[in-house]
Symmetry: C2
Subunit: 454 residues, 2 copies
Amino acid sequence: MEQIKVFLSEADMPRKWYNIQADMPTPLDPPIHPATGKPATPEQMHAIFPMSLLEQEMSPQRFWDIPQEVLDIYALWRPTPLMRAKRLEAALKTPAHIYFKNESVSPAGSHKPNTAVAQAYYNKKEGIKRLATETGAGQWGSALSLACNFFGLACTVYMVRVSYDQKPFRKSMVQAWGATIYPSPSDKTEAGRRFLAQDPGCPGTLGMAITEAVEDAATHDDTNYSLGSVLNHVCLHQSIIGEEALKQMAVLGEWPDVVIGCIGGGSNFAGISFPYVREKIAGRKVRILAVEPASCPTVTKGPYAYDYGDTGGMAPIIKMHTLGHTFVPPGIHAGGLRYHGMAPLVSRLKEDGLIEAVAYPQLTCFEAGVLFARTEGIIPAPETTHAIKGAVDEAIRAREEGKERVILFNLSGHGHFDMAAYDAFLGGQLKDYEYPQKLVDEALTHLPKVGAAS
Amino acid sequence: MEQIKVFLSEADMPRKWYNIQADMPTPLDPPIHPATGKPATPEQMHAIFPMSLLEQEMSPQRFWDIPQEVLDIYALWRPTPLMRAKRLEAALKTPAHIYFKNESVSPAGSHKPNTAVAQAYYNKKEGIKRLATETGAGQWGSALSLACNFFGLACTVYMVRVSYDQKPFRKSMVQAWGATIYPSPSDKTEAGRRFLAQDPGCPGTLGMAITEAVEDAATHDDTNYSLGSVLNHVCLHQSIIGEEALKQMAVLGEWPDVVIGCIGGGSNFAGISFPYVREKIAGRKVRILAVEPASCPTVTKGPYAYDYGDTGGMAPIIKMHTLGHTFVPPGIHAGGLRYHGMAPLVSRLKEDGLIEAVAYPQLTCFEAGVLFARTEGIIPAPETTHAIKGAVDEAIRAREEGKERVILFNLSGHGHFDMAAYDAFLGGQLKDYEYPQKLVDEALTHLPKVGAAS
């Protein structure tokens, strides 16, 4: 029987996270404190983050030992399988080999627990009793509640009210793992009460939910804030995906011509690709492809500039590809990709020509997602369909060129909690959005003064 | 790092299904045709089943080669991992080793595709173009649509209307895999139209949905009927679970003192346990424990008698543990365990003292399910929480007796589409039901005359 899956045993699980800051040709520009306009110090950020994560955030150290306590939790679902999508290949009549790393097997259903577990561990170690965070569709909120549960930390999740009402089962999952969840805006924070006073029926935004979670953390000594993407330490923790993939592809004697991931804040893409970027910098040939939604095309259309990480302008100002922190993307179903900015590490690598990016509208991505579900069985998350679409197009190109090609993409999550999106797609009720050029142009006039667009 | 997972490669996947009929001390009594009152012949049943499945149903052949086409599909998620629940052990402070076979990793989220894929294959091979089936909560309907999709068969699912309306996402899953789904009663069958004429707002029952699916199959030459549990060939196909577990436990050098599964129609329990029953008959020491809901305690309270497989009295009359085919169990959330009868093979083995059974009310099962979710991460299906409760009690007993004990249970499915049940439990809105003795007594007066209660 031909092998289509590669498992690694716990014994073969990578023991170190990889930090791309050690190898990238151009260092990052420093984050700027929103109040002082000067580079933010670890001490300033320590109000809401533990020192160990801030060290990882700022350090050029190449490898970080994964603590045993974190490995023990990872072992509940890691190493994740590497799988060959032979039935998808057959459907596409392509000579390409299509592999995917199946991150959907985590209990929360995505790659998010890779960093959630690490963040919970370091916060716990520094005496923190509770973590506060925001969540949109609920992928991150559920991952952090899972992680906090494992380490005996309390967890408070501010979930955008419209999602809280429309997608009740992510909320249920958060509660099943013992966390507390409030629809945002809530009456639990000053900011929330202010938003509600302005508009009692306010549906909420991710920006408002971030503001509530940050306020919660900043006003409680025993509480820190936790972010599920964008930051350097998040990309560091996610590198386990790519480190495993390197080992698994080696078992098969395969080397990818192209490595693909979808990008919203950049974390799952960073996870699968940064170890390959390291190999590329060291001289091996590999293309690295990020796929984003055409209605929120941060990397393909946004300038590389200093901007706020959040809508309210409370978070540090960071140099990244951005569509402007006041930009509100159209309501596509891939909620995890609706972010105005991009991880500074991903942004910098794009500037340096080490990675490529492409943008697709959502209908063609759902089409690829349904093709994947009907060939490989797994129903992917709407975000993940973007990576699949990227892989499908690479495979079709290989067929047209009559070339063998090895494609590796990250199956970042399953769509079990996103079936309403499939309903809308299969029922013909989904539409594509025109790129909101005017909204972006307007938002870009609000960039802070510290840095200019490159 | 201590090993807590055992994967097998595709190369080590079992190549044969095991048929317990070859080894059981007492043969099954024959199924009786509901119209003639005489043993049903394969020819009579051929109207809605393919001959190859009827052969498997009736045969004493010990092993059946799994067709390569079926193995190829199994390989998308099989062999499934065997996992040790070390964090659950720690929470219970038990010296017991608790292992579980993780069947929730299939694309449909349960063990059901093991037989769905086999049934789709044999029907396709015999020229059938479409399968019709019923589904309650949707686990079986989604598994069969996945399987039909793989073999290019059309699939029609009659889903109990109240579930269709209340659990829309199983319906979406069925559609994502390309099947057609109707709420039952529907206007697509004579029986459905009759039910609707009697009660236009009829919420439907599983019995009505079976009647519709059987009528659909019986009235279309190119269409067969497919059942997801109870029948011998279903138990045969599910045996791959136990055959894998035998190999995986051997890798660890462990032998289970007790093997546990939940029972509704009996298929996942049969799957994990029948290969162990074979070893038990051959002289090895092992307890086999079936766990059922206290509000539908088919094996622990029902007589072993001839009864109809369906509510409408159209299906063959089979010898089994039954609460009476007109019995409507209370509305517990483990919808897959709400069946009046039990697989004849499971029933016979219980009579012969080879397996034990125990019944639990739902609240204590959900409690065990939440404990499992908070220690091991995976949120189990409500049905599966019964097996977990059985394992937890065995582990506690081991602690109290100060004995080592090796426990193996089947994690038959995840609860991603059952989060409303967890909401109700965590919100304190779930209740236990008293055993409906009067309803059962009444239903047992309607047993057909062919066989008497033993």
